[in-house]
Amino acid sequence: MSIAALQETRILTGRSLRHILRSPDTIITTAVTPIAMMLLFVFVFGGALQSTGSEPYVNYLLPGILLITIASGVAYTSYRLFLDLSDGLIPRLQTMPISRSSILWGHVLTSLAANAASLLIVVAVAFLCGFRSHASFLAWLAVAGILAVTTLSLTWIAVVAGLSAKSVDGASAFSYPLIFLPFISSAFVPTQSMPGPVAWFAQNQPVTAIVDSIRSLLDGQSAGGSIWIALAWLVGLMGVAWVLSLVIYRKKIGA
C-alpha cells in the first residue's frame, strides 16, 4: 500500500467510525444478544450443565460468548457496505483519484474498533456474573490478538456478503450460521458428551480450536496446539474471503 492509500484508508475509516459514534446503538445491540445468552446459560441452564471442576461455569462459557459477539457484530459491516454500494457513495469514490481498496479497508478497520468496544462490554458483564481469570498480562494480550484475528477474518467474510447481497436483509443474513456455529462446538459443553458424528464435527470445526485456546489462556494455562490450529483456520478463512471480496468488488464496480 502506498502512503496515499494509507491516508485514504485513514480518512474513510474516520468517516465510518463517525457513523458508529452517531448510532452507538449498533455497539449495544451487538452486545445485548450475547449478554442475554450468557445470563441464560449461567443462571438458568448453568446449574444443570456438568461444570468442569471447581471453576464457575461462566469461565467455561465466556470464550464462546465472545465469538458470538463478533459474529453478530460483523453483520453491521455487510449492512454498511451494502448501503454504501446502493446509495451511490462507492460509485462516486470509484470515479475519484483514490485507491480502490481503501474503501473496503475503511470498513474493515471500523469493524475492528466497533467489535472491540462490544467485546469490552461483554467482558465487563462477565466479571459482574462472577467471571475470574488467572491470566497474566501477556496471556490477555494473546487473547486480544486471537479475538482481533477472528474479527478480521469474519469481517472479510462479511465484506463478501455485503458486496454480493441483493437486499439489506440478505446482507446481514450470512451471520446467522456464524452465530449458530459455537453451539456445535466446545463453547457451551465439552464435545465428549455429544454423539459420535456430532462430536467429530464439533472437534474439527474452527470454533472449538479458537474457544479452547482462549479458555486455556484465560485460565492461566498454555494454549498448547489449539492456538496454532485456530490461527491456521482464521488466516486461511481470511485469505479466501479477502481474495473473494476483491474479485467480487472488481466485478461489481465494473473495472
Partner: protein, 257 residues
C-alpha cells in the same frame, strides 16, 4: 482545446452492442447535452469517460488524457455525479464536502466546504445530517461535492431525474452558474426541455451512435421552416404549479430563460 474527444468508441456487453462507433467533441467551457432514451448508451459512455469501464475499441481523451492509458490523470481532472444523489446521509452537508476535499488531498478542506455551501445555498443546513435534506438540497449538495477541487470537466448523469419542478429549476440554475465560471459540463438527460434550457450544444445518442449533433439552432434547421399559426396558449400545469407554490426570483428567472 476540447475537453472531451471521442473517436469510434465501441462497447458491448456479451452479445449486446451498446456503443457502436461513437464520435464526439466537447469544447472546453461549454454545456454539452447528451440526449437519448433509456438504454441508448448514455450511462455506458459516461462510465467509459470516467474510467470506470474500459472501451472495447476506439479512443477517448478527457482534458488531453487518454482514458485507457492515463486513468489516474483522467480521474483527477473530472468528477461525476450519478443518477442518484451520492451523498453520505449520516454525515452533515459540511462533513460530506470535507470528506471529498480530504480524499482529493486538498489543503483547507473546511474553507473549501464553506465556499461551496455558500455557493449552493446550503449554509443554513450545513450542520444538519443529510438524511434531513429534501431531494433538491441533496442534489445541490451532490453537485457541490462534484466541484470540490475545481475539476475541469463535470459530468452530470441525469441530474434532475426524480426531482420536483422547483428543485429541478434550482438544479438548472446551479448548472448554468457552473458553466459561467468556466467549467465544462457534460450532461446526460432524457428530458428534451432540459437540454433546450441549458445546453450550448446537443448530441442525440440513438442505438449506440450519435445520429445528430449541433447547437439548438442548427438542430432546428433540420425541421421544416416555421409557419405562422394562431394558437391559443393556455398556461401549462407547470406554469400554474410554479406560480402557486413559489414566488421566489430564482424560479421566475429559471422559467423565463
Amino acid at each position: 482545446m476540447n475537453a472531451v474527444e471521442v473517436h469510434s468508441l465501441h462497447k458491448s456487453f456479451n452479445d449486446l452492442d451498446v456503443l457502436r462507433g461513437v464520435d464526439l467533441s466537447i469544447p472546453s467551457g461549454s454545456i454539452y447535452a447528451l440526449l437519448g432514451s433509456n438504454g441508448a448508451g448514455k450511462t455506458t459512455l459516461v462510465k467509459i469517460l470516467s474510467t470506470v469501464l474500459k472501451p472495447d475499441s476506439g479512443k477517448a481523451m478527457v482534458n488531453g488524457f487518454n482514458v485507457s492509458a492515463e486513468p489516474a490523470q483522467v480521474r483527477a481532472s473530472l468528477s461525476v455525479t450519478g443518477q442518484f444523489a451520492a451523498t453520505d446521509a449520516v454525515l452533515t452537508g459540511r462533513e460530506n464536502l470535507e470528506l471529498i476535499a480530504r480524499l482529493r488531498k486538498l489543503p483547507h478542506a473546511g474553507k473549501i466546504a464553506d465556499g461551496l455551501l455558500e455557493r449552493f445555498n446550503l449554509t443554513d443546513a450545513a450542520a444538519r445530517k443529510v438524511s434531513t435534506y429534501s431531494g433538491g438540497m441533496r442534489r445541490r449538495l451532490d453537485i457541490a461535492m462534484s466541484l470540490v477541487g475545481d475539476p475541469l470537466l463535470v459530468i452530470l448523469d441525469e441530474p434532475t431525474t426524480g426531482l420536483d419542478p422547483q428543485a429541478r429549476i434550482q438544479t438548472w440554475q446551479s448548472i448554468k452558474d457552473l458553466a459561467a465560471a468556466g467549467t465544462t459540463v457534460l450532461l446526460t438527460t432524457q428530458y428534451l426541455d432540459e437540454a433546450e434550457q441549458l445546453a450550448d450544444r446537443i448530441a442525440i445518442l440513438h442505438e449506440g451512435t450519435i445520429i445528430q449533433e449541433g447547437t439548438l439552432a442548427e438542430l432546428r434547421t433540420l425541421m421544416p421552416a416555421p409557419r405562422v399559426e394562431q394558437v391559443v396558449r393556455q398556461a401549462t400545469l407547470e406554469d400554474i404549479f410554479l406560480s402557486l407554490v413559489s414566488p421566489s426570483a430564482n424560479v421566475e428567472e429559471g422559467a423565463q430563460s
